[in-house]
Amino acid sequence: MHLDAGPRIKKDPWFIIGSTLLVLVFFGAFIGPLLVPWDPHDTGFVPLSPPSAHHWLGINDGGMDILSELLWGLRNTVVFGLIAAIAGLILGGGIGLVSAWMGGWIDQFFMRLADIVLAIPAVMILILLAAFFRPPSAVLALTLAALTWPTTARGIRAQALTLKNSLHITAARRMGGSNRYVIFRHLMPELFPLYLINFAAKIRMAVFMEASLAFLGLFDPAQKSLGLMISYALKYYYLDIWANWLVPPILLLSLLIMGATFLTISLEKIFDPRLQESV
């Protein structure tokens, strides 16, 4: 299904740009906070001062260094995206594989459950949860994963079903391979590209969701976030501070989502079995 994918994907410009962007942004998110000299919660600087040698992006209205705020915010956003994407992938992949392999009432049960979960507006649940319970953002990320697994499960189930009746799987079963053996040794590795696609798509969705919720002020205001920075900076549009306060978080958020989007689109293009057959 994907023997020649390696060389093909290395030539795809979208894959190269997307992965470069993501690596850079992840680097900034995890290494950046260690390098900035200021604590993002330190309010001891002169509010609204312009960029200087000590504070490359200036100071915000609360007297906090914008660069440290930016990198810590980026880190929180990326961590939220990773938690939601990993949890969603494990949940969706697991359920998809199990229901494809088991079939029967287990399959029926999980697919009806998927229908129901898909009809719940995830944003609404997250908003209610965030507004009334103020949980830590990891809990919100896990909730998001619990509400978005069906898309992954359906895709993986559909592919696993076509694999289920292929020759080598039938051979493995005839030779007496147990359910666990076939799922872990044959089914799971062969669907590998699907995990990548779903992972990139889920990161994109989760980061977007985190930025929206933070922008609406539904997260803990003490927790730095790109969305929250945008919403604060917009209030000071009449000052000349937008170039160093509003534009950086907008740019970083766009680059992050762009990287994930390019990666998803490129991987889909390379690995989509329907495109493969018809080439």
């Binding site: 507004a131 609406l216 539904l218």
Partner: protein, 323 residues
């Protein structure tokens, strides 16, 4: 063979049951959520309440009704009284609904039609320079979230250049003729609409193009070309029809999640739709209002899903044969 009538009405009962469950959940919502209006309003205020006053206020704002009464009131459009806005919930709701429908409806219809048409044309011209640059631009646009487009548009075009208003859906207290009023509404609509179209159109374009590229490889398209049909007819009457289904699905899903989809853009541009109303209601812990909007948004998903099942059978005969 079953009658057609039976087949059309079959999903309705399942959806009605689901709707009843949703209404029941909405009825339970006030007991499930912590925090109440009295605490939220008086915690930061300068008055301090003694225990008796607090209990009385809570009793005043809390309505004890059975599920039957709740259902009856729902049908009679008596959705409770918003304590934060000093108005009945239904009044607030129906004042906001048209703006959301105007904004989201226009954005969805515009981006769906544009996406479908341009996507089909792009697939037809696959490999040309125009197509390649078009796909590139759309991929980049797809990567820019609506918060960023919205904030930048607001900053540049309404705050710095002053070409467009920064808030609202119409000029307040203006004495205008109907024509002027329409122009005024369009003027207010422009920036949020552009933001939404920029968010939805690229995805539709890429989806339509991908579907169409696959359809164009099919034998029947070759047959249609070989018959000597004009290219426009091959494209739209034969090929594009088969690439339409995923777009319709996306349109339905997006339309179903209209209220939540409008949330960010409406908040950025202070557009007085349901998204802004929900946002304000949540920040003031105004439960009856939250209840009303959440229930409407959830029921909307059900209704759109039901409609989609019917549309599928209309568009694709295979679906009705399969069931």
């Amino acid at each position: 063979m079953r009658t057609r009538q039976h087949k059309w009405s079959r999903p309705v009962f399942a959806y009605l049951a689901a709707a009843l469950i949703l209404v029941y959940l909405s009825y339970l919502l006030p007991q499930l959520l912590p925090g109440d209006f009295v605490t939220a309003m008086y915690a930061g205020a300068d008055v301090s309440l003694n225990a008796l006053q607090e209990a009385e206020l809570k009793a005043y704002f809390l309505d004890n009704q059975t599920f039957g009464e709740y259902l009856g009131n729902l049908v009679r459009l008596d959705w409770g009284y918003s304590a934060a806005f000093f108005a009945p919930v239904s009044t607030l709701f129906f004042a906001a609904l048209p703006w959301t429908i105007v904004l989201m409806g226009t954005a969805h219809i515009l981006s769906s039609f544009l996406g479908f048409f341009l996507g089909v044309e792009a697939a037809w011209r696959r490999g040309s320079l125009v197509e390649k640059s078009g796909v590139g631009t759309m991929t980049v646009l797809e990567g820019i979230p609506e918060i960023c487009t919205g904030a930048l548009l607001l900053l540049v075009f309404s705050l710095h250049l002053g070409w467009f208003p920064a808030a609202g859906a119409q000029t307040a207290y203006a004495e205008q003729t109907t024509f002027q009023w329409v122009l005024d509404v369009l003027h207010h609509l422009t920036l949020p609409l552009i933001t939404l179209v920029a968010a939805y159109f690229p995805g539709n374009f890429l989806l339509a193009r991908a579907g169409m590229v696959m359809v164009l490889k099919k034998q029947f398209v070759l047959t249609a070309k070989a018959k000597g049909l004009p290219p426009g007819r091959v494209r739209y009457a034969h090929a594009a029809r088969n690439a339409l289904l995923p777009l319709v699905t996306r349109f339905g899903l997006r339309f179903a999640f209209m209220v939540t989809g409008a949330l960010v853009v409406e908040t950025i541009f202070s557009y007085p739709g349901l998204g802004t109303l929900l946002f304000n209601a949540i920040s003031m812990r105004d439960l009856p209002l939250i209840q009303g909007i959440v229930l409407f948004a959830s029921l909307m998903v059900l209704v759109v899903n039901l409609c989609m099942e019917w549309v599928y059978t209309l568009l694709d005969p295979r679906v009705s044969h399969a069931s």
